[in-house]
């Protein structure tokens, strides 16, 4: 049972997209400016590449808004995740020792006692940590459903009477000494010992509950002293060790369960860590930063969108020419223009906006209205693959192979971004071949945006409803 900050309850992550998208869109380079922690950025990209539905997008947007409004929430959660990770490391080390615990002898009894004390400490630490986080979150203004759900998840543990009873019990077990052990044995119908468990006598239990009473020495009823033989002493030690081991195993199960419930938080917070840095960086660059809305229907509308990579490379947003577009249907988009006129940048910025927006992040635009796509795929013209990688295929065949993979794998509702595709062959043939593909995409509910110099496509696609854009001077798109 766990609570995710990335996905609402009942929603599972989708299969990830091809990682080459990050390269094609220069997101790897853009985010190297934003976050120097490679491990953190990698986790961020892992989440980014899993397309989300509208519900998840809104879920994350709400969490980000809360984290932006009160930075202490993120700090507190990160601290919690870190301490929990430390406890987890200690716990797993101790667990390995539990499994290696051998029966027999005083040494094993001593080890069993130590391990029990350690696991009791771990459980106590976890409960205390949860209580502390609960108290802190109580003092914060949480509005996002994800954060509220996490808080409720924690309270379900900390507010329970069980947690209240467990904390002092764990504290007692941390100080437990096997020299004070009392154990009850139970025989089965065949006269064998089937249970040997640690017990607390009632008088002692009463004293535990009222620690401030002046302690009087508990007079235990007389018992029969055991005349230990040399052979039997280790057997009793072994039984005592197994009694302690039983308690240790129960504590371990509890620790593992609680750790598992929150183990994912660290990774999930990595996403928000980079997201917050990204938002701060946009602000530092003076860029617009808005959370896109996601409606029904096929929307691709944005106002004053700036390319993220270019933003990272300049001192301020005023140096980047923004672009705008209003598309309310699923028509494909052809973008023509001279070299260096901003076609690839436009394609990149639209793709980045879709990727970041659909991951729940704000985008560097004044406003944006998008629709969730089932998948995003890119085909950017690349250099010929290395000698060892390529079979007998040239560039054209590589591209064909990539497009074929798209046809095989993309569902309806996807978005395909093509940059100068099929220009590595005779243009007329490339255009003709590409036209069939684009028609296929359109017929199957896959939206496409193609940056191209293949002017022949106009003729081949004259009967297909498409949007034709051109770059103009000053990096304008119209």
């Amino acid at each position: 049972m766990s609570c995710s900050l990335l996905y609402p309850e009942g929603i599972a992550p989708a299969a990830p997209m091809d990682r080459r998208i990050l390269y094609h869109l220069s997101l790897d380079r853009a985010f190297s400016y934003i976050s120097s922690d490679e491990k953190l950025t990698r986790r961020f990209f892992d989440v980014l590449l899993q397309p989300c539905g509208r519900e998840t997008v809104l879920y994350r947007q709400a969490i980000l808004r809360d984290l932006q409004a009160d930075p202490q929430i993120f700090a507190r959660l990160s601290s919690f995740a870190k301490v929990l990770r430390d406890i987890s490391g200690d716990f797993h080390r101790a667990s390995r020792e539990v499994s290696m615990l051998r029966a027999g002898g005083a040494a094993s009894l001593f080890s069993a006692q130590n391990l029990m004390q350690m696991q009791a400490k771990h459980l106590g630490d976890i409960l205390r940590l949860l209580r502390s986080l609960d108290a802190d979150l109580n003092s914060r203004r949480l509005r996002a459903e994800g954060l509220l759900a996490l808080h409720r998840h924690i309270q379900a543990i900390t507010d329970s009477s069980a947690a209240s009873a467990l904390l002092p019990l764990c504290s007692r077990l941390e100080l437990f000494k096997s020299a004070d052990l009392k154990c009850r044995y139970r025989l089965d119908k065949a006269g064998r010992i089937v249970a040997f468990e640690v017990v607390e006598l009632e008088e002692e239990a009463v004293l535990q509950k009222r620690p401030h009473r002046i302690r009087r020495k508990v007079a235990l009823p007389e018992g029969i002293p055991l005349q230990m033989t040399a052979a039997d002493a280790p057997k009793f030690d072994s039984m005592k060790a197994s009694a302690l081991k039983e308690i240790t195993q129960i504590l371990s199960v509890a620790c593992r369960d609680l750790l598992d419930r929150f183990a994912h938080l660290g990774d999930e917070l990595a996403f928000y860590a980079v997201a917050l840095k990204y938002i701060r960086t946009l602000a530092q660059k003076g860029s617009a930063c808005s959370y896109p809305t996601f409606g029904d229907g096929a929307h691709l509308e944005f106002t004053d969108l700036r390319d993220l990579y270019l933003l990272m490379t300049v001192s301020g947003a005023e140096h980047i020419v923004p672009s705008s577009l209003q598309l309310n249907d699923n028509r494909g988009v052809l973008l023509y223009g001279d070299n260096g006129s901003g076609k690839t940048v436009f394609l990149r910025s639209v793709s980045t906006m879709q990727l970041l927006g659909q991951a729940g992040l704000p985008v560097p635009a004044e406003r944006a209205q998008l629709s969730c796509v089932a998948a995003l795929a890119t085909q950017f013209s690349e250099s010929e693959k290395g000698f060892l990688e390529a079979t007998a295929a040239g560039r054209f065949e590589q591209e064909v192979r990539e497009l074929a993979a798209m046809v095989d794998s993309l569902p309806a509702g996807s978005l395909v971004l093509l940059n100068e595709t099929f220009q590595s062959t005779a243009y007329t043939e490339g255009a003709e071949g590409l036209s069939h593909l684009l028609r296929w995409f359109s017929d199957h509910g896959i939206r496409w945006i193609l940056v191209t110099h293949l002017l022949q496509l106009d003729e081949y696609l004259k009967d297909l409803p498409v949007v034709r854009l051109h770059t103009s001077e000053g990096y304008r798109i119209s």
Partner: protein
């Protein structure tokens, strides 16, 4: 208490030779003790009782009851073993108390099985005599009282602070229970707790004895009236039960493989007649093709020679006769569609043996064994001879065969002699032949038929299969040895 009563009874006759089942390959399908039972003779009445029991065991529910009974007997045996070497005095008392309970359980169990025919009915009647019932009542009373006394001893508290002491059981909270309760209420699933299985050691035993002196004294007094040897008589049933269950398992296995099974009629005069009889020893071979054959050894033609192709099923035919005879003679079902058999008082097999280098050559050994068989064979007997006298030159071997055949003819012995001396067709005995497929002389049908000349043993195709034919041998080179 009841004196030993066995399930199965045997008569006073001589058991058959242990070599007989060995030649029949029975150790591959039956346990050693089962085979020993098959060798021992029983009366006709006993034979009928056993047949009745095996018919009831075709219902697997009844077989399950016997398996449970055997399991209970094994438990009793284990208890007695523990009693012979207890870890402590407490354990000794406890195992003795358990022994009483197991004995009572077994008596009840055995009585409930009286519906399984005469063997179990006899046993149930013995257990139902007034003396036995009175005995069981007394044992029950002692057991119940000991159970009550032991109940108070089954839990106690050991305190290990400063020195170890045993306290009587009192209110105490188990830390594990407390932990489990609290942790479970957090919605955490805990694995089931596993029981220890530790014997009570001497130290604890002495402490318990000292802690509960009156209870221990009373228990000791109760149990001393019933020493273990008095309660161990049911163990004598184990071997009988194992025999019954081993045979049942073989029958089940045969039926599962599609073999016919029947309860043969007991003939009053010498006869061996079976329709579609099969050799169950082939069940031990994976993917064996089991072909049933008829057996007709009757007055007028009691003894036959069996000739035919190598690998054609001749030895299998001998085993079919031998194994099914052993099973019939012990009151067991046999592997045939129907049968009528005489319980010959003596049966023997003469199969080739390994040369023992014991100072006696193979031919001489064969003579010695055969003479011994014929000397022991009261008329009528069942004789199964397999390639006897094949270990010498053809002329001498055939001469010895003729001499022996002349000895057998007037005796009226029943049996079959497998031989490669095809001249036996001229000796005036019935001839059986291992059939070859008329369309393909390389294919064996494993069918044994009456008559036929059987002039060839078709050994050449077998040689070709293993590339030992002349043409293959020419193409095969020799291994280069440097």
């Amino acid at each position: 208490m009841y004196s030993a009563v066995r399930l199965l009874h045997f008569s006073d006759g001589h058991p058959l030779s242990a070599q007989f089942p060995a030649d029949m390959q029975l150790p591959h399908i039956l346990q050693e003790k089962t085979i020993a039972y098959l060798l021992r003779p029983c009366t006709k009445e006993e034979l009928l009782h056993r047949q009745e029991l095996f018919i009831l065991l075709w219902d697997d529910r009844n077989a399950l009851l016997l398996r449970e009974l055997l399991s209970d007997l094994h438990s009793l045996s284990i208890t007695l073993d523990l009693l012979s070497a207890p870890e402590s005095e407490f354990e000794r008392l406890y195992q003795h108390y358990l022994l009483l309970g197991q004995y009572l359980g077994l008596c009840e169990h055995l009585t409930s099985l009286s519906f399984l025919g005469a063997p179990f009915l006899r046993l149930a009647q013995t257990l139902s005599t007034p003396e036995q019932l009175t005995f069981c009542e007394a044992v029950r009373s002692a057991y119940d009282r000991a159970d009550t006394l032991f109940a108070g001893l089954r839990q106690g508290i050991l305190s290990f602070s400063s020195s170890a002491t045993l306290m009587k059981n009192r209110d105490a909270k188990s830390l594990c229970d407390t932990l489990c309760r609290q942790i479970s209420s957090l919605g955490i699933s805990l694995p089931a707790r596993t029981d220890l299985r530790i014997r009570v050691n001497r130290t604890l035993s002495n402490a318990i004895t000292e802690q509960y002196p009156m209870e221990i004294a009373e228990i000791t007094g109760l149990l001393s009236v019933y020493p273990p040897e008095l309660l161990s008589t049911p163990l004598e049933l184990i071997d009988d039960l194992k025999f019954i269950l081993d045979i049942s398992a073989l029958i089940l296995r045969g039926r599962a493989a599609g073999l016919p099974v029947c309860i043969p009629q007991i003939s009053d005069h010498p006869l061996f007649r079976a329709e579609a009889a099969a050799d169950p020893s082939l069940l031990a071979k994976e993917d064996a093709q089991i072909v049933p054959n008829d057996i007709r050894l009757e007055p007028g033609s009691p003894f036959a020679f069996l000739v035919g192709a190598n690998g054609g099923g001749k030895t299998t035919y001998l085993r079919t006769i031998g194994i099914n005879f052993l099973l019939f003679r012990a009151g067991c079902p046999i592997f045939a569609r129907s049968a009528e058999i005489y319980p010959f008082p003596y049966a023997a097999a003469h199969f080739p043996t390994d040369e023992r280098f014991s100072g006696v050559g193979r031919l001489q050994d064969e003579h010695l064994r055969l003479n011994s068989i014929l000397a022991s064979a009261a008329v009528p007997s069942l004789l199964l001879l397999n390639e006897t006298f094949s270990g010498t030159d053809a002329a001498r071997g055939f001469r010895y065969l003729c001499d022996t055949a002349e000895m057998i003819k007037p005796t009226g012995h029943f049996g079959v002699w497998v031989t490669h001396f095809h001249e036996v067709t001229d000796l005036g005995f019935p001839i059986l032949t291992a059939e070859i497929d008329p369309q393909d002389e390389n294919r064996r049908t494993y069918r044994i038929t009456s008559g036929g000349s059987g002039h060839s043993s078709f050994a050449a195709d077998i040689l070709r299969k293993y590339r030992l034919d002349p043409e293959s041998l020419k193409k095969r080179g020799v291994r280069n040895v440097l």
